[in-house]
Symmetry: C2
Subunit: 238 residues, 2 copies
């Protein structure tokens, strides 16, 4: 008999925060069901999904009678409710935990504003009928470079550390790497060469088989799509 409520993760492989939660569940061998909510088909706005997440965004999680949205909330909740190893998000060492929170709280207006913002403005915005102006695309690129610089000089400053917060994986690693993955098939992939510590850390995360499997597929799909837009300028016809 199952003594834990069953987890369902709602999301889309094309969504970076969905992939962070998906990989975290797989890596930690937590049983779950995945329900695809296709954002390109606007399924996140369906009345059924809005009952689960009134904010109409992916990912969302249900666990028995509780539901929640926001990927970092989902990661923190899974870690605590499934009693996963302490290194992900220390329970008693609140000084160490603060350093992970600091990354997770920065993420939204840091790497996500840069990477997610760039990809949305450069590749997605034209699909909405309102292509982003060139200067706003450049603004996102500047934000991304600023974020990589901070990672290089602050989180990854110690040459010997394996991961973002030291030598063990934390919630910050999967969240950050899932966001960066989307620039790989884009026209700015080469900027990573300017940030060797970020590049080496990112490669270390990509080499984790659970991470690689999900992201390999996502990169391949995005790659085809981005190529069409790169070829057509700002007028995609899909």
């Amino acid at each position: 008999m199952e003594d834990k409520p069953k987890i369902t993760l709602y999301g889309d492989y094309a969504s970076q925060p969905t992939r962070a939660c998906y990989v975290f569940l797989k890596y930690n061998k937590v049983p779950f069901e995945f329900k695809q909510v296709r954002v390109t088909k606007l399924e996140q706005y369906s009345p059924e999904f809005k009952k689960i997440n009134p904010n109409a965004k992916v990912p969302a999680l249900t666990d028995g009678d509780i539901s929640m949205f926001e990927s970092h909330t989902i990661l923190r909740y899974l870690h605590e409710s499934r009693k996963l190893p302490d290194h992900w998000y220390p329970r008693t060492d609140f000084r160490e935990r603060a350093k992970i929170d600091e990354y997770l709280d920065w993420h939204h207006n840091g790497i996500r504003l840069g990477a997610g913002g760039y990809i949305f403005r450069k590749y997605m915005s034209s699909l909405t009928g309102k292509p982003a102006p060139k200067e706003s695309i450049n603004e996102s690129l500047m934000n991304l470079k600023k974020s990589f610089k901070l990672m290089e000089q602050y989180w990854l400053k110690d040459d010997k550390q394996k991961y973002l917060l030291g030598n063990e994986l934390t919630l910050a690693d999967f969240s950050c790497a899932s966001e960066i993955t989307q620039i790989i098939p884009s026209n700015i992939a080469s900027i990573l060469d300017g940030y060797p510590k970020v590049k080496a850390w990112f490669q270390r995360i990509l080499d984790i088989s659970e991470f690689n499997k999900v992201h390999h597929k996502a990169i391949a799909t995005l790659s085809k799509y981005f190529q069409i837009i790169d070829d057509q300028g700002n007028k995609p016809k899909l």
Copy 2:
């Protein structure tokens, strides 16, 4: 003899996240020193401050040998390190804690994107030499209305609850209310009338004397400044 390291909060009264941390410290009677970092004078970029916060934003906190940035990280850390009452951010009930995390994680691209985005674009951007275009100001306004609607229908759906997450204050209340305060002296203050539950909750927070004292002063300062810009259109001469 002092057995706790001394806390220093670095920030600016004009910064919403600074005010959230400041009020939290005052309300909980945690002794601290406040050091003003004037963002209008770009003091956050000084080499001295960047040693404390390499991200060059306010607020930041030092506590003995540890330093950190990001207001939600600061709030969580203060709560745990000073053993403050459980209702702010439950220690053992991780289901309740997840509902607070959900708000805190949403905040960045929710109320802050709307309220902070609107005020920056409408009132601050012209000072940087790049006034925001009208359509981007409208975009922020739409985001703000969407955020208020979600608060009304989701966080504040129960007519009887006093605060965002129930009948006791949580970290979410001060963070959210500090962000909303800045629209009071702006040209869109009246939109709150369209969201009666948000308005009533916000008034309840404003009535807390520690909150009122700090924000009353901030509103008065912003009010003078916004008036000049409202009078001059998009060409402030300060």
